[in-house]
């Protein structure tokens, strides 16, 4: 479970992953369950792409094989508390019987 967050006007991407902080590394800093990455500038018409990228002129990347169980999107900044909760409680389906 991974939560990404961006606030209007900032060139920062905030990253939250579950309590187990061993799973996520970035090219910018060491493993941590909460971190932020800053870029020099962002002014983009970028679209979200599921299952790979829409970039055709970069030979160093390829489309991965894998499963997206859910991708939820909010067109607003939910705040740090919400993001931490989202990242720390994965969805699990339990069957109850009468």
């Amino acid at each position: 479970m991974l939560v990404l967050r961006h606030r209007a006007g900032e060139n920062i991407l905030y990253i939250y992953c579950g309590a187990d902080n061993t799973g996520l590394a970035t090219t910018y800093s060491s493993s941590n369950f909460r971190k932020s990455i800053t870029w020099s500038s962002i002014n983009s018409d970028a679209k979200i792409v599921l299952g790979g990228t829409n970039i055709s002129n970069d030979s160093s990347i390829m489309n991965a094989t894998g499963t997206l169980y859910s991708v939820k999107y909010w067109e607003e900044d939910l705040g740090e508390g919400e993001c931490l909760q989202l990242a720390n409680w994965c969805h699990e389906t339990m069957n109850f019987a009468v």
Binding site: S44, I61, S70, L78, L86, A97
Partner: protein
Amino acid sequence: MTGWEKLPTNITPTEVGTTYDIYATWLERNNVNYNTVLTSNDYSVAEKLLVLKEMSTARDTLSTADLYPVTLGYDGLKPAISLISTPTRYTGTPTVITDYTPFGANKSFTIAIDYRFEHKTSSVAKEAVLLSCYDNTNESVQGFKLFYNPSAVGTPVPQISFGSTAS
């Protein structure tokens, strides 16, 4: 919880000989279909548990061994836009979501991604991307990608980078 605000303000827990069931009132006022609530991601865990409670008291509508799936987890206080309706396995053919521009001017966003990589060992040191957000019309493409390195041995280590595709 949606619907509580519709309850009367003069409610009393116990009336003469009758227990006023505040839960049942909530269900009634929302025209709740049990099955819809239990299988939808639009209802919180609390609401689903509430429905389960109601179902257990309404045994005339149930049969022994009926199963009720309840998905635990946190969905956020505000309703989300689901970019996929069901879990989807990708094998190299991406889907572009054209409806949103997360990094557009004066825009904020939050995205929650539940995912799993399938490790395909490759001697080629490429980055295997499962989800990304780049502007393919901009030469200095900027955005983020969720990827792992297929040339590494062992369980894929998810990585995030933010910036150009080469970052």
